[in-house]
Structure formats: structure tokens, C-alpha cells
């Protein structure tokens, strides 16, 4: 198991988990989101090949109302 931080919250994942699987576990498949891993953008097209590592810090964002 590895521990990653999603939006600041620790989350246990299986070894060799990719971002597609994480997105699926979070219920975000098909949702309009954007993901940054360790301060770098991960393009949607690379979710499947992006393997997560222990201590990775992910930011998952969406659009909300704002001025």
C-alpha cells in the first residue's frame, strides 16, 4: 500500500495504482475535473499511464461560482 494526499487528505492506495483508478474510486469518472500531481498538471490523456507513488500530493479541482 502507498499513502497519497488528495486535496490535503491522506488516502491509502494499492501499489502501482494509476490515476484512472483513483478517479474511479472517487466517483469522478466522466466528471469535469482537472488534476495536478506534485504541482504539475496531469493531462486527462495520461491518467491511465500515470502511476502514483507514496507521498504524492494530488490536487483535484472543478469550477465553482466565483467573481
Amino acid at each position: 500500500m502507498i499513502t497519497v494526499y488528495v486535496n490535503g487528505t491522506a488516502r491509502q492506495l494499492a501499489d502501482d495504482c494509476n490515476i484512472t483508478r483513483l478517479v474511479d474510486e472517487l466517483g469522478y469518472s466522466g466528471k469535469r475535473i482537472a488534476i495536478e500531481c506534485n504541482a504539475d498538471i496531469v493531462p486527462r490523456s495520461l491518467y491511465a499511464q500515470h502511476i502514483l507513488h507514496d507521498s504524492d500530493r494530488l490536487e483535484i479541482v472543478g469550477a465553482v461560482g466565483g467573481g
Binding site: 486535496n7 469550477a63 465553482v64 466565483g66 467573481g67
Partner: protein
């Protein structure tokens, strides 16, 4: 009349840009946006709420990006770095959309822009191909520097964000408009319809507001008032107002042919 607002080569028929925050629900947001006639709407980029049901209605359903031009902002960012990261996320989120609103704040009490961080973020974003509409102070020198960097619109505050204090320094807005060629859009401080009209009469290319509409007792009615005020102010600017003169009386009715006075 063909009088469109042109930003980064794209034409918009409305000169009113509005925010999507602070409404009571998404339905009210949409009704107010429709009443305002705005085509460009600002949105914020925030962490998804991990505990929340992912199928709950979202802003994107109520305000579809296919119908409105999204202007993702960097509200809440206090460093150039955070602002740049936020807009890279926005571009990924919105399928490569590059028109953005940059704002880097100085402190949480005033929300006054930190122009040093703003200049730095603008340089990075322009070099990465973003089309940057930039919120800034009403300093004409900084405004010119932001234009020189390549920002596509300069958006000075008229007074503090969310204050509703109106156009506090029209002369500085004039100095900015005298110096920059890209559209100057008043962003922040508008409180009511006359403020929007004043900004437009000064010659601003547009006005951007959120709280003035969302914070009104009847946001939808205020949205329509803002639409009319923006259009009225623009028309007055194009018409060219009469010169102000304190005396030099010039009656509108003929001075000849007045009946004789009976008093001697």
C-alpha cells in the same frame, strides 16, 4: 449599431461581464446571468469536495460552457505561483481554454491586488500562451506594464472588491485609458446601476461585477438594471456629452418672442 467589445480578437456584444459567486442557488445564478445579458462569466477553481456526492448538480450544468464564455479566475491566490498553477488547472479543466482572469491579492482584508506578484504571474502566463485579462490597481504605470507584457485586457478596480463603493477615482481610470490600447474594464467596486453607467461614460470598454448583482435584494432585477446601465453609459460615451459649464446660461427655449411684462 455594431459596437462590439473585442477581446483577444474575439467579439462580444455585451460589455457587461459578471461573476457567478454568492447566489442562493444555481437556478438563481442562471436567471441572473440571462437577465444581465452577459456573455463572459467568471468562475473560480476550487478543490472538489471529496465527501460530497459526485453527482450533485454543478455550476457547469446550470451555466454550460457551450453557452457562456468562461473566465476562470485566481481569486484567493496571494502568490504568482499559486495563480499560475490555478490557471494551468483551469486550462486543463476547460479543454485548453486560454482566456483567463488573473488576480493576485495582497491581503485578505482589502483584497487589494499585489501588483508585483501580478506582473510576475502575467509574464509566465503570457509566455505559456494564456490570454490574460488582469485585475490590477488603478495605477496607470502598472497598467501600461501589464499591457506591454501582453495582457489582453486591463481590469483596474474602481474601489475594493465587494465594497460597492463605486467609481472612487475616475481620473486614474482616465489616465489608464489614455495609456493603454487594449480594453480597459472596470473590475470591482461597482455597487449600483449608476456606477456601471459612470464607468462606461468615462470610456471604459466594459464592466465586470459580481456582488453588485448577487448581493442586491433582487439579484435578477439588478442584473437587468446593470444591463441597461452598461448599455446607456456606453451610448452616452459614444454620443459625446455636452461640455460642463457652471454659468454661461444657454436656455433651451427661444429668447425672442416672449410676451410683454405687464409690470412697468
Amino acid at each position: 449599431m455594431n459596437d462590439h467589445l473585442i477581446i483577444a480578437g474575439k467579439s462580444y456584444s455585451s460589455r457587461l461581464l459578471v461573476g457567478t459567486g454568492k447566489y442562493k442557488d444555481f437556478a438563481e445564478t442562471r436567471t441572473a446571468l440571462d437577465a444581465s445579458g452577459a456573455e463572459i462569466v467568471t468562475v473560480a477553481i476550487r478543490r472538489t469536495n471529496l465527501g460530497q456526492n459526485p453527482n450533485e448538480p454543478s455550476l457547469l450544468d446550470a451555466v454550460p460552457p457551450s453557452k457562456f464564455t468562461y473566465l476562470p479566475n485566481t481569486a484567493g491566490c496571494y502568490t504568482a505561483d499559486d495563480a499560475v498553477r490555478t490557471l494551468r488547472l483551469a486550462r486543463e479543466l476547460l479543454d485548453g481554454h486560454s482566456l483567463v482572469k488573473l488576480e493576485v491579492l495582497g491581503d485578505p482584508q482589502s483584497l487589494y491586488p499585489n501588483v508585483i506578484e501580478t506582473l510576475s504571474a502575467a509574464k509566465t502566463l503570457v509566455s505559456e500562451g494564456f490570454q490574460v485579462m488582469v485585475y490590477t490597481s488603478d495605477d496607470p504605470i502598472i497598467a501600461k506594464q501589464l499591457e506591454d507584457i501582453g495582457c489582453v485586457a486591463i481590469m483596474p478596480l474602481a474601489s475594493l472588491i465587494g465594497s460597492g463603493m463605486g467609481i472612487l477615482n475616475p481620473w486614474n481610470l482616465q489616465l489608464i485609458m489614455d495609456r493603454v490600447k487594449v480594453p480597459v474594464i472596470v473590475d470591482a467596486g461597482v455597487g449600483t446601476a449608476s456606477d456601471a453607467a459612470i464607468a462606461m461614460e468615462l470610456g471604459c470598454a466594459g464592466v465586470l461585477m459580481n456582488t453588485a448583482i448577487a448581493g442586491a435584494k433582487d439579484p435578477v432585477l439588478m442584473a437587468s438594471a446593470m444591463k441597461m446601465a452598461t448599455a446607456a453609459g456606453r451610448a452616452a460615451y459614444l454620443a459625446g456629452r455636452m461640455p460642463k459649464k457652471l454659468y454661461s446660461a444657454s436656455p433651451s427655449s427661444p429668447t425672442a418672442g416672449i410676451i410683454a411684462s405687464v409690470r412697468s
